[in-house]
Amino acid sequence: MSVGPAQSLDFVCVGINHHRAPVDIRERVAFNDLDHALKSVLRYDHVQEAAILSTCNRVELYAHGDVLHTPHALESFLHEYHRLPRQTLTPHLYQFQGLEALKQLFRVTTSVDSLIVGEPQVLGQVKDAYTRAHEAGGVGPLLTRAFSQAFATAKRVRNETDIGRHAVTVSFAAVELAHKVFGDLKKLTCLLVGAGEMSELAAQHFAHKGAKINVVNRSLEQAHLLAQKYTGEAHSLSDLEVLLQKADVVLTSTAAPHFLVEPALMRRVMRARRHKPIFFVDIAVPRNVDPKISAIDSVYLYNIDDLSGVVAQNVKERLKEAQAAHAIIDEEIALFRARLNEQQVIPLILALKEKGALIAETELGKTLAQLGSGLSVEQQHQIELMARSIVNKLLHEPITELKAEAKDNPAEHLRLIELSKRLFGI
């Protein structure tokens, strides 16, 4: 049995992303026909396996190939496939090799490299990239291992950190706050006063959670149009007081130059609704809701700046959580490395055992032939046992040591493998 030279990880990443390249560059390398692209890249020399991740923020190629030539091949592919003059992309491209390339894959998959850190979409996009590569025949054992561990890492990051827990858009922040007031949003009544873009987006989130959406507008026609979208009731502005009595969440975004909701009105409303909590989200500028109403018991009011403040806090929180995610990524890389080392040492161990067994069998054959039929079956058996156990005892120490070294001392273990081959003549 022959054992090839021990190798490090033949994994390469070449890519371009929002950190390094403006959109007018990124759009030129985006892939429309992924299957076609995968088949083309797999025809390049030094590309044994390949997957392409193409999203609006990044294009990355992951490939199994030697770290010396494959990056160049991938770079040529990007230029040639998109018919770009040589070197156009070069200043914007980044390359990673070996474990660093693997780390980049983990960073992307866990969303710590995303524009909005912790956003959940990128995991789906990476999974998609892997599936497409698999379908195009670009996936072999290395990519399978790399991607499946990337997915496992993403899962760990999601479970063990709060990286994606808090809302980082104004409309989602409104939904999250409503959760803190009401818990379950299913049976809520949401009142949409006027229709700005952001409040409508928030209304959509609430509708999606099962809340009922009523609409108030200065023009009843407009109100009807909107209410149809959510199958809610439409009213004119004169019904506001009655509607406030029934509403749980109120989203205001009219162009009214004065306050629509004032403390006197709100006190009447609160009595009528038996002081049930009510949550105002005032996205209008100028504001539609008098800030003084927040002094009333069970009235919660957030304006656009408050929501932006919540979002800013959440973004900070996510960046803090990203630190924890980096630690998890490092752990997973170490794990991958340990497994890789173990796998590199396995052929050598097999060869050692095989050689030992062969020697034992050969010598046994000779000995038993010389002693001839003078031995009982039991005696023959004892001699066979002795020969094998001498070999096993002799090999036990080196094998244990090789395994341990692969796990605990990855830097040294390649040298040890070479040395062992020389010592044992393999």
């Binding site: 803190k180 007031v181 909590p277 018991d297 919540v310 806090q313 959440n314 929180e317």
Partner: protein, 165 residues
């Protein structure tokens, strides 16, 4: 206390309901504190960095009311049972006991809270504060009144005998 099996049962009822009621009141106090904390965080827009994951305002209020109502009912039963015991054993001035008077006073306070909550839907911060104050009074009574001289609620040996005494 010397008495019949009936007395023993009354005593058991009195002790059990009072004990459970006191425990539930403490739960209600914790819920009120959580409510006030969540209300404070929401009001002061300190939501993002709160490591603490408190239940929603609605849930805290809802469960708080249920716990308080149950505690109140048990408290009334405990007081009534206790009154019968006292009437039978402490003579004509049975109602002049510090702990007994204290219990009736706090019980009336909770009655007022519950009536306000159930009729006009009184709730929110004020309700939470009053609940907190009420429970604090009860617990103070429980711990503090043992050191007051004019209570017969201590050093109570129980002797049960059949028939007449």
């Amino acid at each position: 206390v010397h008495g019949t099996v009936g007395t023993l049962m009354l005593l058991t009822l009195h002790l059990a309901t009072s004990l459970v009621s006191d425990v539930l009141l403490m739960v209600a106090a914790v819920l009120s504190m959580a409510y006030l904390m969540q209300d404070y965080l929401l009001r002061h827009k300190k939501i993002g960095n709160a490591r603490l994951k408190l239940p929603s305002i609605h849930v805290l209020d809802d469960i708080g009311l249920k716990v308080l109502t149950t505690a109140f009912v048990l408290m009334v039963v405990g007081i009534v049972a206790g009154s019968f015991l006292a009437m039978n054993h402490w003579g004509p001035r049975w109602y002049l006991d510090a702990r007994q008077l204290w219990s009736v006073a706090t019980c009336l306070l909770f009655a007022a809270v519950l009536i306000a909550r159930l009729t006009v839907g009184w709730r929110g911060r004020k309700a939470a504060w009053v609940t907190l104050i009420g429970t604090t009074l009860v617990i103070t009574g429980l711990l503090g009144l043992n050191y007051v001289t004019w209570t017969k609620h201590k050093d109570q040996g129980i002797v049960v005998s059949e028939g007449n005494t």
